[in-house]
Each structure stands twice: as C-alpha cells, then as structure tokens.
C-alpha cells in the first residue's frame, strides 16, 4: 500500500506542471561589451535586451505582441489624436528607492531630445510639440509634455500620428529619475525594471540582481542574471554544452555549423525554441543607376533568384519573403510574389536590350551568412547572363556606400522593425523624402508620387482598417515596381538548458526576463 502511494506521488510529480521557483542565476554570453545602458543612447539587440532588465517605459508589448501599459496603467487619446493623457501606476519605485512620478517621465523625454544626449532616436519624437526647439538647443523644456499631477502625464503632438503609442514603447523613452543622466549614466544606470545593475567589469562580466523595489509583486523570479563577455561563437557553444551558459541564440544567431550539430543531437531536441523575427532581408537595386533604372531589368533579377535555396543556406531558419512586411506585422494574406523563372528573366533582359546580360558590382557586408547568400545570388544571376562581382565590406562601410546617391548599383539589405508598424518599413525605405545625397534611408532611391501620397495619407489616418488598406496598396505598388527583391524573413531559433523554465521567444523584445525561472 505504502509502495503504491509512493508510486502515485511520483507519478503526480512527473505529470503535474512544474511550480515556478524563485531564485537562481541565468547566464548568457556576449561577444562585446555593451555599448551603453543609457536608454536614450544604446540601441542594438544586446543593449535592448539588457535595457529590458533595467527599465520600463509608459507602454510595452505583451507576449502576444499586443501593446499594453507598462508604467502607464491607462491612457486616453484626445483631440483627434493630437493629445495623449496617461495615468501612471501608483507606488512604482526606482531601483535606488526613489518614487517614480510624472516629472520623471517628462524629464526622460526632454533629456532624450537634448543635443548633448546624442540620441539616435530623436527623429521618432520630432512630432511632439516643442521638440524642434529642444533639438536645436534653444530650450530645455518640452512644451508638448506636461505633468499636471504626480501620476498623470500629457503629451501633445503637432499633428495626429496613429503610430505614436508604438513609439512610446521604444526603449528610448524608458523612464529614468529626473536629474540623472550625463556621460556616465550608461555605466551607472537606474531604472524601475525588474533587475538592477550590480557589477560591470569591462570585457569580463556584467551582473544584474533582482530589484527589491520592483512594482510587480513576486517578480522577477530569478535572483541574478550574468552576461559573460568576450566569448566568441565557438566558445559560447562549448560553454553552453558544458552547462556553463543557460541560453543560446539570444544576442546573436547560433552559428551554422553548431546549429546543425545541436539539431542532430537528440538530447537537445526538446529545448529548441522558434519564433519569427520582425525583419526582412532583401536585394536592393538603385533605381537611379543603369541598368536598374529599367523596371524590366529589376523584374528579371527578381525572377532569377531562387529564394528557397537562400533559406536553406540559412539552415532553414527563415521563411521565403513574397512581400516586404514580415508576417508578424502583416494583416491578411501575403502577396503572391514573383515566381522563380530564369527563362522568363532572360526574355525580359532581351527586351530591355541586354540579350547577353551585363556585369555589375554587388555590395554586401562581410558577414558569413550574407556572403553565402551573395554567392547563391551570384550563381542564380549568372544563369541569366548577369555577372555579379561581389564587393564585401564592413557593415558601416556598406551603410555609407548604399546611402550615397548613384553609388551602389545592387546590394544586400535588411530592415528590422523599430516598432511593429507598416510605416516603419514602407515610409523609411520607399518614401521619396528618404532620398538624400548621402546617408539616404531610401537606399534604392525609389520615388513614386502615388506611393508617397498613400503613405502620407496612412500617416494621417487613425482608422486601423483604412490605414492598413493604404499600406497594402503602397506595398503592392512597390512590389510591382521592384526597387528591391524581398528574399526572406529570418526565424529566431534559441536553445535553452533543461533547467531553464518559463522562457519563450518574445515577438518584439530580444528577451522577456520576467517569467524565466530555474528548475
């Protein structure tokens, strides 16, 4: 009898879902030191992940990717979208014990726009009333932001912007204590987030410990998070395999060879996690440069590229792109895309006056995956007589090169959503206002008045359905003009240790710390 009770208890223990434990340390690797933990300054994937440990903004995204309140408990959109009124959560403290109020929110927004902050996020907030005066250094206070009560913040815009709430979820607007900042803030940050910085030894280790003042009761579950710095990809994988690291694939993709190896080992199978990435990798063509100024040539290139092979080259970690917008942003079905048709492509080239094809230079970054894909495209285009000379370079050189007018004829590009809204892709990449002599955002130098008009109308439209229709129209038109060939939407694949529980790939943030616990 006693034996059967014991067996039953054991069975129950195995079947019942595990109870979340409080405590434990989560260890991750990072190649380089974080640039800065100042939320107005740091803006790359590892930094954004780390900022999620330290800060909260007014709004955030839940695990379904829905915009929800973070420090704001509720909000109202007033005056036809020109005024926003936020009510703040009560009893929120910074990690140093100071109470967080609406004055801190106002200060954080003002500081973001001060010239000496050198924030790269200023352009997102130029629509706030009085922002231009701050950006030019004429004033220090932001006319469009007021704090009528300790728990109320009001933001006034020059014109309605349906995407404005998404902008308030960007890490740039994370709330820091009023009066803080300066050059050293990036190394000595204070926020309201679930953790606080405990130690940062440059080049070695960054340690975060639980913020005892965190406003969500019982959270976070972990005691401590450690970033082990300076580890190259191979050493990171070896350390993970030996159980010295807990998660793989967070701050950078698992390298191809290691990915194949982990995938082939049975013991790791249950611990892989997959989730879509809000980005698109594409082949861009400069529409101002011959021969790509001819739409027939651009279509021929699009028809000659075998996209499935490109996804295979990335170990299947992606989805063939038929449209520009990633599946995480798209509403409804994706566009049909252009079928792989080398014969048709050759015919089109003949019509465009290139029966023998032509030679050109393909600009791409020297990242190994990008290079592999570039070689695949080179092979595909050779099939229609187009000879690509690959020009690999550092990422910053590529950015400068493709952003210069009439400089890079054809190139490898990618765009990751700053915020999950079609405007972030379509306006940035295809509106003619993005065309500049240098540092252009519109790197294909595509200009279409109709597309411009649709995009501008969408920016003023608050009805979500009507807005989406305008973006859909604009995307379809761009896809028919083909200044770029969408190649694939990457897939995030992470690997966890069996002891790591409660972890899932967040649709927007690099990592969501709150629910993670150690068994």
């Amino acid at each position: 009898m006693r034996k059967s009770i014991a067996s039953l208890a054991l069975l129950l223990l195995l079947v019942a879902p595990a109870q979340a434990n409080r405590g434990g340390t989560l260890r991750l690797a990072l190649q380089d030191d974080l640039r800065s933990l100042d939320p107005a300054v740091g803006y790359d994937i590892p930094v954004i992940g780390a900022e999620r440990l330290l800060y909260n903004g007014l709004l955030t995204y839940d695990r379904a990717g829905k915009l929800v309140g973070d420090l704001a408990s509720s909000w109202k959109v007033l005056d036809g979208g020109k005024r926003y009124r936020f009510t703040l959560r009560k009893g929120v403290l910074f990690s140093d014990g100071r109470p967080m109020t609406s004055l801190d929110v106002r200060y954080s927004l003002e500081r973001l726009l001060w010239p000496e902050t050198k924030s790269q996020g200023t352009s997102f907030y130029e629509g706030i009333l009085g922002a231009s005066s701050l950006l030019s250094g004429k004033t220090r206070t932001l006319r469009g932001v007021s704090a009528p009560a300790p728990d109320v913040v009001e933001i006034r815009l020059k014109a309605p912007n349906p995407a404005f709430l998404s902008l308030l979820a960007l890490p740039f607007t994370s709330v820091i204590p009023a009066g803080s900042g300066g050059e050293s803030f990036g190394r000595h940050p204070v926020g309201t987030g679930p953790f606080k910085l405990s130690a940062w030894t440059p080049g070695q280790k960054i340690v975060w410990v639980r913020n005892p003042h965190y406003f969500k009761p019982g959270l976070p579950l972990l005691d401590r998070v450690e970033y082990h710095l300076g580890l190259n990809e191979q050493v990171e994988c070896m350390k993970f395999e030996r159980g010295e690291l807990d998660l793989l694939g967070i701050n950078r993709h698992i390298p191809a060879a290691e990915y194949v190896r982990f995938r082939s080992e049975k013991r790791w199978q249950p611990y892989f996690l997959e989730g879509p990435d809000t980005s698109v990798h594409y082949l861009g063509m400069n529409t101002e440069m011959k021969p790509f100024s001819d739409p027939r040539v651009r279509r021929a290139v699009a028809m000659a590229i075998f996209k499935k092979k490109i996804v295979r080259l990335n170990n299947g970690r992606g989805q063939v792109a038929t449209g520009i917008l990633p599946p995480t942003i798209r509403q409804g079905n994706p566009p049909a895309g252009i079928p792989f048709d080398p014969k048709g492509a050759r015919e089109l080239l003949k019509q465009a006056g290139f029966p023998q094809g032509f030679k050109t230079t393909y600009w791409c970054s020297n990242n190994p995956v990008t290079l592999k894909i570039a070689q695949s495209i080179q092979q595909d285009l050779r099939g229609i007589g187009v000879e690509l000379e690959l020009k690999p370079m550092t990422f910053s050189t590529l950015l400068s090169g493709v952003g210069r007018r009439r400089n890079a004829p054809i190139f490898a590009g990618n765009w990751t959503a700053d915020f999950p809204d079609p405007s972030n892709f379509l306006v940035s990449l295809f509106h003619s206002r993005g065309i500049q002599e240098t540092n252009a955002l519109n790197t294909t130098f595509y200009s279409n008045r109709l597309v411009d008009r649709w995009l501008e109308r969408a920016e003023r439209t608050s009805d979500p359905a009507a807005r989406w229709d305008l973006y859909k129209q604009a995307e379809q038109r761009v896809l028919s003009d083909l200044p770029m060939v969408p190649l694939y939407h990457p897939l995030n694949v992470d690997l966890r240790q069996p002891r790591v529980q409660g972890y899932s790939i967040h649709p927007i943030w690099p990592i969501d710390w709150e629910g993670i616990w150690i068994r």
Binding site: T122, Q204, H228, G230, N232, M238, E241, S396, T416, S428
Partner: protein, 320 residues
C-alpha cells in the same frame, strides 16, 4: 678612466640619450599622425556606427555636429594632440567612457598575458635552444629535434587555430583548464601557451645560433683550458654571451605584447588592450583606436629606449 674622460663619456651618453629621446618623440608623433590619417581615410562613417543602420539623415547630421566631426581634419588632429598634452585622450564614440582610464583598466590583464607569454618564450625558447645549440648526446639531439618542430609549428600554426585547438582539447574535452575567461592562474595557462609558442620559436633559433657561435670563441677555449666543467662553460660563458641579442628581442616583444595580443585575447575572452582595440576597430571608434595605438606606440618607444640603455650597460663596447 680619469675625470675628464669620465665627463666626456657622460656627455656623450647624455647626448646619445637626448638624441634617442627626440627620435622617440618623432616616432610617437608619426604614429599619431598615421593612425589619425588612416581612420580618416577609411571609406566608412563612424557616425553610422553610432547612429545605427536605421537612423535618418537628420539624426546622423545632428550627431556628426555634436561630435565635432564637421571640423576640418587638421583642426581635429590639432585639437586631439592638444587634448593629449593635457592628459585627455577623449571619450569613446561608442560607449562614451573616457579613453585613457578605459585602456589603463585593461593593462593588468594584458600585462599578465605578456608576462605569461614571456615565460613561455624564455623557458621553451632558451631551454630548447641551449640543448640544440650544444648538440651533444641524447639531450642535445632531443632538444634540436624538438626545437626544430617547435620552430616550424610556432611559425606555421595560426594563433587563432592553435588557441581554439588548445581550448577544445584541454578545456572542453579534458576539463583541465577553464573554457576561456580571466581571473585565476589556470585561466592564464592556455592563452600564454598560445601566444608563447609562436614567439618561442624565434628565441629557440636565436639561442641555438648564438650559442653555436659563442662556443667557437677563444674565451670558451680558455674556460675549458682552465678546467671548468662543460656545463659551467656552457652556462657561464657560452650562454651568457649568446643571450645578449635576446635582450633586444625580448624588449621589443614585450613592448609589442603590451599593445595587446588581439587574436589570442579574442579567442580566450581575455579582457586586455588588444581585445578592446579590436572592438574599437569594428565600431570605428576613432578615439579608442587612437588611444590604443598611441598607448602601444608609447610602450614600444619607451621599452626600446630602456633596452638601448640596458644594452649599453651589458655591453661596455657600446658605451660612448
């Protein structure tokens, strides 16, 4: 030496020292100018690295103005030099931290690795070089063969590959040493070996050659004629003279190592100056690149100067 001879010799030494100091300053300025010119000529924009891939042109221009990158290049260089004279190496574009303290914070790690590598150079290089230089008996032949293998391997094996192999074998497979990192003696062993093996090859060849030449000199014959045991002849008279050229090489290598061993530090996650320099290069963080290069140049110039003086002390023929 009478008094006037002594003062003349001191004057000559001071003059030589002054000449060396002026030369060192020239080298240092040349390095500063070259590094600055190179960072300026690279066809990439440091502002793009800071602003990110998706920043709009207005933001890029605003940051450029805030970083004073719109000023003429000559003015920027002069401002930079003026800053250095005041001990201000500027702030990192990427992280905003002050350059000089950031470099100095990394010096202890680099110094440890440099010393570790030096020990490997000397122990392996001189030991095997002496054995193969003597070339008598079993140990002589053994040392010669081993020295030859070490030389070929040290020169041929890429540091990055060797480091990864040592990590894979001794850390990942055998668990004898930690898998990269910094902090304890056991963390130091594999990076020192990786870095030291390549250098030891040169020391081995140099010691072997030097010892072979020294052993043919008259003073060796004299020492033997005095009835000294062979090991004393080799160690006291042969090796002592053979090692003289090694002082210069050791000084130069040590100075170069202080500038950081980029590949070794990268493989072993060693938080030294070299690794920081590599990060700065990838980010086009001009103040940090300049700071690191100037730090390395200063170390090389100063240590070379020191070696020169030491050499004069060790070899009286060079004095005056």
């Amino acid at each position: 030496m009478n008094f006037s001879q002594w003062t003349n010799s001191t004057k000559l030494t001071s003059f030589a020292l002054l000449r060396r100091l002026l030369g060192a300053l020239g080298v240092w300025l040349g390095v500063a100018l070259l590094t600055f010119a190179m960072t300026y000529l690279i066809p990439a924009d440091p502002v793009r690295m800071i602003a990110g891939a998706q920043a709009d042109p207005a933001t890029i221009e605003r940051i450029r103005a805030q970083m004073h990158l719109g000023e003429p290049v000559v003015m920027r260089f002069l401002h930079y030099l003026l800053g250095i004279l005041h001990g201000d190496f500027g702030r990192s574009y990427a992280s905003g931290v002050e350059v000089l303290p950031a470099i100095l914070a990394r010096v202890p790690a680099t110094l440890q690795l440099a010393l570790g590598a030096m020990i490997v150079y000397l122990v392996l290089g001189i030991l095997l070089g002496t054995l193969s230089g003597v070339e008598k008996g079993f140990w002589g032949r053994f040392g010669d063969r081993l020295g030859w293998i070490l030389t070929v391997a040290g020169v041929s094996l890429p540091t990055f590959w060797l480091g990864m192999m040592l990590l894979y074998g001794f850390s990942y497979r055998l668990s004898w040493f930690p898998l990269a990192g910094y902090g304890t003696f056991s963390h130091l062993v594999l990076p020192s070996l990786t870095l030291g093996l390549a250098g030891a090859a040169a020391y081995n060849r140099l010691t072997r050659q030097g010892l072979k030449e020294a052993m043919l000199q008259d003073y060796i014959r004299t020492a033997r004629a005095k009835g000294l045991p062979e090991h004393q002849v080799i160690l006291r008279h042969g090796l002592r003279n053979a090692l003289l050229p090694l002082v210069t090489l050791l000084g130069m290598d040590f100075a170069a190592l202080l500038g950081g061993a980029v590949l070794t530090e990268t493989v072993f996650a060693w938080p030294g100056v070299g690794y920081q320099a590599m990060q700065a290069i990838f980010l086009l963080d001009v103040p940090m690149i300049m700071g690191t290069v100037l730090f390395a140049a200063t170390a090389i110039v100063l240590i070379n100067l020191l070696v020169d003086l030491l050499y004069r002390l060790l070899d009286p023929r060079l004095q005056g």
